[in-house]
């Protein structure tokens, strides 16, 4: 790789592309795929289901390969890739008229964690409430709570202002808490 597009494989949390690549051909998209394929695949699986996740992820990386010259390096490479994957998932969802797959919780993980604070959460009720979220609320919940993106990164991926992300998250969590009976508790 050239100095114009330096990959940082040792620090996954740091921008993998430090600056905008001067020569798109110099950027190793294969290396990006090895680093971020799992995250992109899992995101796609939550958006369009496991049956189409591999197709969506592959198409996202092929799109990234074509568009790498336009990557400005202002965000993490993963954020950029998830933005591309998000668009691809939207396209597939429209094409196949998909209903969003369930966000499944694993109770065994709760038992293993021994976390007392979350013990009050009814997992079944939470899962049902997640299934009833609107598409916009579900999108920000996945990107922020599950993928771990910051508000700014969620905004970049979803293509909405940061204030909108904050508002959507607030209302999504309000909906989930209400479904769990949180507002009725003394």
């Amino acid at each position: 790789l050239t100095s114009a597009a330096t990959l940082n494989m040792q620090k996954p949390d740091m921008p993998i592309l430090q600056e905008a690549p001067a020569d798109p051909a110099a950027v190793d998209v294969e290396m990006l795929a090895r680093e971020h394929y799992a995250a992109v695949y899992r995101f796609c699986a939550r958006r369009v289901g496991v049956d189409l996740a591999a197709d969506a992820a592959q198409e996202a990386f092929l799109t990234a390969q074509r568009a790498v010259g336009r990557f400005r390096g202002e965000s993490r490479a993963l954020t950029w890739l998830l933005g591309i994957a998000n668009n691809e998932c939207r396209r597939l969802a429209r094409k196949h008229r998909l209903r969003p797959p369930e966000i499944e919780l694993d109770p065994a993980r709760h038992a293993d964690s021994g976390d007392t604070e979350s013990a009050i959460v009814n997992r079944n009720a939470l899962q049902e409430a997640l299934a009833r979220l609107s598409a916009e609320h579900r999108e920000v919940v996945i990107l922020h709570e599950i993928e771990g993106l910051t508000y700014e990164e969620v905004a970049a991926v979803a293509g909405v202002p940061v204030g909108t992300v904050k508002s959507r998250l607030h209302h999504a969590m309000l909906h989930l808490r209400r479904a769990l009976g949180g507002e009725e508790r003394p």
Binding site: A33, Q58, R66
Partner: protein
Amino acid sequence: MNEREDLKALVDGELDPIRAAEVRSAAEADPGLGRELADLHAISQVLRTETIQAEPVGLEETLVALRRGPARKRMPFFVRMALPVAGVATVLLGVAVLLPQLVPSQDVALRSASLGAPASAPAAESAAVAADLDDAASPAVWEVRVARVDQAESQLRSYVALMPGASIESVVAGDVREVVLTVPADQQERMVEVVRELGDATPEAAAASPARVRPAPAPEVDQFERASERSSTGEPRVVRVRLVPHPDR
């Protein structure tokens, strides 16, 4: 500002320090806000730690696809569908343009000869020219190649001088001379014969007698005859003859 709306942002660490302190103080002072803060924290904790992660598949296939190089962007559906239609339309248009040249008929010959249009002129243009012939105000044009333009014009003038009521005007444009003939209705047949006589000249005869007009293609003769026939209502027929130097001269 409503502290409740900022509770989630407080849980996520997305507030600036001053605002975070304000919201935290409000939550400590208000038991309801405090419970909500705890609930939001618990829900986030469950989502972040207990969500089932799908096992990724397809990395190798993606790497193979990437190694093939940047793929061409897939064309939109309507473009993919339009391409075969456009191909068929092109073929049909080509046939429509070329067929009149391959299968000459009286009508087709008339079109290709009018206004000096070359035989390969597009059908649409020829059709427009043919339409012009139907307009009495738009004179027909007969392009003939001659050994010497000036002598050919003199020859025509001498013929016209012998025709009662006929007149001739000429316009010079470079080597080409366009002659506008006004032929009375009762002289049209005679004028056709004159042109036929000129048309009987062979290239050799034209070389021997420079004033003779080289034979014009048959379609042009037909055109002139048709023009004359159409103006048999008694009104003078205006015919333009374009005299062009013969290339073999």
